[in-house]
């Protein structure tokens, strides 16, 4: 059992933070790695990339958006409640080295995943500029943390309610036009990663993205998480989750993420009526 020691709601309750006791994982985990969580006996195994770890306290932090049955179930867990299973750390850690000028682009809960990577890249001696975005001001998360983790932070909202109006890619384009960038890290919704990668490809700037396909075991045993990278099939849980953004088949990934949409809806609806 894995106890929740801290819980916070953000973005008007659509995003939830859990700090969870998991000493073995906390000791081992590196930025970019994920865990699989299962709330209870009948629960689904859900992969989430860690937003933070505290090896001394023996805790890990996850930040998730409530999008379906399983995350709705997670949301019902209060401080002091427990996850039945937490497995990790899984996947390959982010390769952090000094490359020079880096731009970190984050959207939605991808910002939570981007944060430890941004911090690590800054610590590794890079000049880090970050761009984070959300649909509106109320849905933006982790602005202060990202400000602290970067040398420079740009904030955009789709509706202009805060920061710059428009998409993160608008700001990214200005930066790419202005100076020579050595690395871009883009983490967020698949369409965002697709557009970021399309843009950086034009400028010939190396780009890393973190993929979130459907998973079961997270250890390379099922192949449910397969993604096409440069025409080759890879298992995101062991070969990734980070990949060269220019090689990813985003359209296939978007399709595959829809595989259980109807089931998911059925399950979510029955859960919501049950708890109404």
């Amino acid at each position: 059992m894995f106890k929740i020691v801290k819980r916070e709601e953000m973005a008007e309750g659509t995003v939830v933070l859990n700090e969870i006791e998991a000493p073995l994982i906390a000791k081992k985990a590196k930025p970019g790695q994920f865990v699989i969580l299962k709330a209870n006996e009948t629960g689904e195994r859900i992969p989430l990339t860690m937003a933070d770890t505290d090896p001394d306290k023996g805790t890990i932090t996850i930040i998730y958006m409530v999008v379906g049955k399983s995350t709705a179930l997670f949301k019902t867990l209060e401080t002091g409640d427990e996850y039945q299973d937490v497995i990790g750390p899984l996947g390959k850690p982010t390769h952090m080295e000094k490359v020079g000028k880096v731009v970190c682009v984050g959207g939605g809960t991808g910002i939570a995943v981007l944060h430890p990577i941004t911090r690590g890249l800054k610590q590794a001696g890079n000049q880090v500029t970050s761009i984070i975005g959300a649909r509106s001001k109320d849905l933006l998360i982790m602005e202060d943390a990202m400000k602290a983790a970067s040398h420079e932070l740009h904030v955009c909202t789709d509706d202009g309610s805060y920061g710059r109006k428009g998409f993160v890619t608008n700001v990214l384009k200005e930066i790419l036009d202005r100076e020579k960038i050595d690395l871009v890290v883009g983490i967020g919704p698949v369409p965002m990663m697709k557009f970021v990668s399309a843009m950086t490809k034009e400028y010939g700037v190396k780009t890393i993205v973190s993929l979130n396909p459907i998973m079961v075991d997270g250890t390379g045993m099922c192949g449910g998480c397969r993604v096409t990278i440069g025409g080759e099939t890879k298992f995101a849980c062991v070969d990734g989750p980070e990949f060269d953004g220019h090689q990813v088949d985003y359209d296939e990934l978007m399709n595959r993420l829809q595989a259980y949409c109807e089931d998911e809806k059925e399950c979510y609806d029955s859960f919501c009526t049950m708890n109404a």
Binding site: L24, I25, K28, K38, T42, G43, E44, R45, K69, S70, L73, Q84, D85, V86, I87, G88, P89, L90, V216, D217, T219, G220, M221, C222, G223, G224, R226, V227, T228, T233, V238, D251, E252, N255, R256, Q258, A259, Y260, D263, E264, E266, C267, S270
Partner: protein, 470 residues
Amino acid sequence: MADTKAKKEKIPRHAMPEQDPDIRKRNFLEVPTGYTVEAAMQEAGRCLQCKKPSCVEGCPVQVDIPGFIALIREGDFNGAVRNLWTKNSLPAVCGRVCPQEIQCEGKCIVGKKDDPVAIGNLERFAADYARMNPTGELPPKQKSTGKKVAVVGSGPSGLTVAGDLIVKGHEVTVMEAFHKPGGVLVYGIPEFRLPKEIVFSEVAFLEKLGVKVECNAVVGRTVSLDELFEEGYDAVYIGVGAGLPRFMNIPGENLIGILSANEYLTRANLMKAYLFPEVDTPIPRGKNVVVLGAGNVAMDSARTAMRLGADSVKIVYRRSRDEMPARKAEIHHAEEEGIEMMLLTNPTKYIGNENGRLTGMECLKMELGEPDASGRRRPVPIEGSEFNIDTDLVIVAVGSGANPLLTQTTKDMQLNDWGYIIADPETGKTTKRGVWAGGDIVTGAATVILAMGAGRKAADSIHQYLSWGW
């Protein structure tokens, strides 16, 4: 002499009572319901009690077959299971899943003229009897040695090692990557063939003996092999199975609606997705399902798909019936349940719609040519024989390979060209000091009983090492 005796008695082999195919093909209850006491004692009476029993030669772990059968005949069922346990710690499992027709029963003398003695059914009977009528008796445990053993993987081979070493007085911890122990017995083999309750009761028994079972422990990630030694373990056994799904590598394989058998069966069995939406894990319910391959894994997948409500389920296999590797009983059960066999057929590509969902598959007809390296006649494509099958769900069950997760992170342990761990066939010793391995991660995907046999040899060797050194 044996023949005259058989002629005199002439009791036909007791058929295993089974659920009716039309009913069972839509439920997940176990198909064979087990012998009654009377049937078991009568079937036991068919055994000739040979002086030199050839069935025992056919058993990879040399179960004392005439011995346990004689005890069943006398009505001493607890005695029978105690006899079984001396060679086989999971008789309830083996009675159900061993390929008896090529092992013990294949060698049985009665089988020369008649149907062989139903050794597997009797083994199952004795084990089920003991589980249903527990005496609470535990095997004697030797006094504590203070040595610590880590067993990585909780499949049949790991469980065997754990059981053998705990009674020898060592401290044993089993580490399992999944959230439930049992390996393939839990995530792969379906409920209707091996009720999970049996596996959990075996694990509970080991825990009662003092074995610690740690789930959610991915060795190679949560903790490395070397760290286990740093934490004070004196020996490690690796029984992580052959958990790397093979795909066909033909165009369209990443369409929605194509799953590895590992994924499909894990969703169905471990995650109990057949109860969806009562449980949260979904599983695709195909209307026209195709399963690629013809081993046990393929039969299990096909029969699961049927139970999940498919209109049609086809096994597509590139060789002929004679080469199908599944247990005979499973092929028979599958056909009774209405599963179609499309033999000498090989898929060449998948066909999908604009949403990336599978709609069909193109196949080629094959014919048998010259024998290949395995001695089986090689299937060769018939030119121009392409045809399409409509399907909305394909389950790929064409074998599995070595999962590199643990071995990649353990530098000084030698692997063969296919990534399997090199281990001494007699002792299970790997090239890394203090580390043993066995089961599917050494042999490639094989059988429960071979995995257990390897576990037993390794446990003996580990015990020697802990007592005398490497």
